[in-house]
Amino acid sequence: MFKLKNGLYLDMSVQPIADFYADAIVIPTTTDLDWESDLAAAVRKKAGRSTFERARARGPIERGEALASTGGGLLSTFLIYVAVLPPYHPSLPGKKEKGLLERVIVNSVLRCSELGIENLGMPNLGKYLGFSDRQSARIMLTTLCQDSVNEAGSPREVHLVLENDEELKVFGEVACACSV
């Protein structure tokens, strides 16, 4: 586990985020909360279709925004959807937008502080915007290190739930530079 300069704790592992236990997990989606991807399908299967349908009924949301819903059948209590793609986006990767990636992370953390939850699971969000693993790690971890991100004291811990060992290696290297 790493302790970031702003006091936030960071951990990382390789596993399917649909099986990950945290107070909340983040999943990337489109602005109309209706993205067909392997990750979305796996989470929907565990959470239950009605959980997704209820969240979609509350959309659309702006790109960069984050919307919380209950986790349904997931181990996590909450799901936080982050809109990284425009609607009906048929394929990846999206446009590389550093500001957008920063916004989704800040807004995910904001939803956590409003819910008062302690720990958050987050995938490699940057790759859905076309960033390499290293670029994504730098942007995500620099954003998570900001003092403003940890002002509310919630969440206390962010867990990066990665898809493979290569992601883990890269994120681990970048995390060393950001931690105390």
């Binding site: 509350r58 949301i61 702006e62 925004e65 984050a66 919307l67 919380a68 819903s69 209950t70 986790g71 209590t77 909450f78 807004n107 904001l110 939803r111 502080s113 409003e114 819910l115 008062g116």
Partner: protein, 216 residues
């Protein structure tokens, strides 16, 4: 329905749905109209909270769903909070608030604390699972005019009774009014506990607190 009422109705719906980003956007739009911050709270947020409160009592809403709606309220109050404090007279006195011993529910308490701050009270929030001695100590230290006891569980009534008795024993009842609220109590129970006032929900907290300090 005029435009102001429409936007406030949309805001209430957004809070009820727990849509935090939409709630913030509607609050911004309301302020830009301009609709006053207290009107936004009373007509755009409190109606949603009453519905959620009823659903919670009926068991037709889960606690995570309540937390999401309260998250939307917090999102709204992140914008409205400073404006509510600005528009209130300051120096109404100190309120000590907490959830009583054995109970860790804080949602209602947090809302009441915010409403009281918005009304110009200085609020000392002791958190959750607060025993009677901490309430007494805080009331003495901060010269509290009001102590607000919150609880959701029915067992919290016993903790409330114990706390009220502690204030009696410390000779503080003349100086400090005790307000009780939360799912643990109703008007009848509050009277049986010999509380000075009962708050049905956060929306009446300010009025009750202002009424208590005017009586002095």
């Amino acid at each position: 329905m005029n435009a102001d009422l429409e936007i406030l109705a949309a805001l209430a719906a957004s809070v009820e749905q727990g849509n935090a980003p939409k709630t913030k956007a509607l609050v911004q739009q309301s302020l830009a109209k301009p609709i006053g911050p207290w009107e936004i709270v009373n007509q755009g947020i409190m109606p949603a909270l009453r519905i959620i409160g009823e659903q919670l009592k009926d068991g037709t809403i889960s606690l995570p769903e309540v937390m999401i709606s309260v998250g939307a309220v917090k999102a709204a109050l992140s914008i409205l909070g400073p404006l509510l404090v600005q528009k209130s007279a300051s120096g109404r006195g100190v309120v000590v608030i907490g959830t009583v011993a054995g109970d860790v529910h804080s949602l209602g308490k947090d809302l009441v604390a915010m409403m009281l701050e918005g009304s110009g009270f200085k609020v000392i929030d002791l958190g959750v699972d607060v025993d009677s001695s901490r309430f007494v100590e805080a009331a003495i230290t901060h010269k509290a005019r009001i102590v607000a006891l919150s609880g959701l569980l029915t067992t919290s009534r016993m903790s409330m009774r114990e706390t009220i008795q502690a204030f009696d024993s410390a000779g503080l009842r003349g100086k400090t009014s005790i307000l009780v609220g939360g799912g643990a109590v109703d008007r009848q129970t509050a009277a049986a506990l010999a509380a000075d006032a009962y708050g049905e929900d956060a929306s009446v907290a300010s009025d009750i607190a202002l009424g208590l300090v005017k009586q002095e």
